[in-house]
Each structure stands twice: as structure tokens, then as C-alpha cells.
């Protein structure tokens, strides 16, 4: 199985690299800055006159690109705006990892304690704070554990149903 993986994976990657037709990358010119889009201006004029409509419309008009429909659209075709997606994605990824890693660290620490069941029912605040601190460093810890083999268990420790 392992040999199959070692042989098949490079073949698959090479096939994908050489035999997929990449779409032509062209800048989409139908999007204009929202401040210059008549449809967007119409929507802005019709919007209710409150804080939660006024401020977002101001920001959209100065920052975003609008289509014919007068609504802001994200473009994935120009590298200079890729950061708009990369940064929110990075924040999401880090926060998701933080949540997962803190929970894992807490459960692992609880399992080593003398009363693991109680620690799962009543959250121990000092232990939780320690786990959060570990969670903040999760990208580093994940790399460290991956390299040292602690991140995953060995194949023969995984329970499988009888076949």
C-alpha cells in the first residue's frame, strides 16, 4: 500500500502538471471601482439612511470593485488584490488551528492527570490557560510534532474493524 502511494502520487502529480489545460489568465475589465459604477451609485442612493448602511457603502465605494449589477465582487484574476483573500484566509486558518490545538492540548493534559473525567466536565482554568498558550504557538508546535512523529500515531495503533 505504501509502495503504491509512493509510486502513484508522483505519477498523478506529473499527469496533473502536464495534461491539464490552464485557463488563460486575463484581467477582468467588466469590474470597475464601485465609486464609478452607476448601478452602485443608484443602490447607494436608495439605501436607508442609517449608520449600518451609510458606512459600509462608503467603504465599498472607496475600496471595492463593482460589476454591472452595482454589487461589490471579489476578483481572483489580479495578483495585486490576492492579499484581500490571503489575509482573511490566514486569519481564519490561524484561529481554526488555535481552537483545535488548544482543545487537543487540554485533552492530552487532562488524560495525564489523576482525574481526567472530572477535568472534562469541570474545565480547570489554569490548565485551560496553559492549553490556550500552547494553542497560540500551534503552527510551530505542529511542525515540531510532525517532525518528531508525535502528531500522528503509528499505523498498528489504529483500531480497524475485522475484515
Amino acid at each position: 500500500m505504501r509502495l503504491l502511494r509512493i509510486v502513484l502520487l508522483p505519477i498523478l502529480l506529473v499527469t496533473i502538471c502536464f495534461f491539464t489545460v490552464s485557463p488563460a489568465i486575463a484581467v477582468n475589465n467588466t469590474l470597475v471601482p464601485c465609486s464609478k459604477s452607476p448601478a452602485f451609485q443608484q443602490r447607494k442612493a436608495k439605501a436607508p439612511d442609517t449608520y449600518y448602511f451609510e458606512k459600509p457603502f462608503q467603504t465599498y465605494s472607496s475600496e471595492l470593485l463593482c460589476g454591472d449589477d452595482g454589487l461589490p465582487h471579489l476578483t481572483l484574476d489580479r495578483p495585486e488584490r490576492a492579499i484581500d483573500i490571503a489575509i482573511p484566509f490566514a486569519i481564519f486558518f490561524y484561529v481554526a488551528g488555535f481552537v483545535g490545538w488548544s482543545g487537543r492540548a487540554y485533552l492530552q493534559a487532562a488524560n495525564k492527570a489523576s482525574n481526567p473525567e472530572e477535568l472534562e466536565i469541570f474545565i480547570s482554568i489554569p490548565l485551560a490557560i496553559q492549553s490556550f498558550a500552547q494553542g497560540l504557538l500551534w503552527p510551530l508546535l505542529a511542525v515540531k510534532e510532525f517532525l518528531s512523529g508525535e502528531l500522528t500515531v503509528k499505523d498498528n495503533e489504529i483500531p480497524v474493524s475485522p475484515r
Partner: protein, 46 residues
């Protein structure tokens, strides 16, 4: 008092407190940065 604090650390209560804190943070963000979304705050005007 110590029983009340212990009750606050029980998993369902702690989860509810965490949820309320996160909701408060997001409501606060919406108030301070209305319209915060992809493309609005990380890039200069096109």
C-alpha cells in the same frame, strides 16, 4: 461562592460564556468597522 465558581467552570456553562464573549467581540467589530469584509480593509482603493 466556591460552588458557584465551580458551576461556572462546568463545560456547558463555560461554553455558553465563551459563545457570549465571541458574539460580543463580533458585534463590537461590526460597530467599530461597519462593512468589514473581504477586500475592504487590507487593500488601498483601486
Amino acid at each position: 461562592m466556591q460552588y458557584f465558581l465551580k458551576y461556572l467552570t462546568s463545560a456547558p456553562v463555560a461554553a455558553t460564556i465563551a459563545l457570549v464573549v465571541v458574539a460580543t467581540v463580533f458585534i463590537g467589530l461590526n460597530l467599530v468597522f461597519p462593512g468589514l469584509q473581504y477586500g475592504t480593509y487590507f487593500h488601498a482603493a483601486p
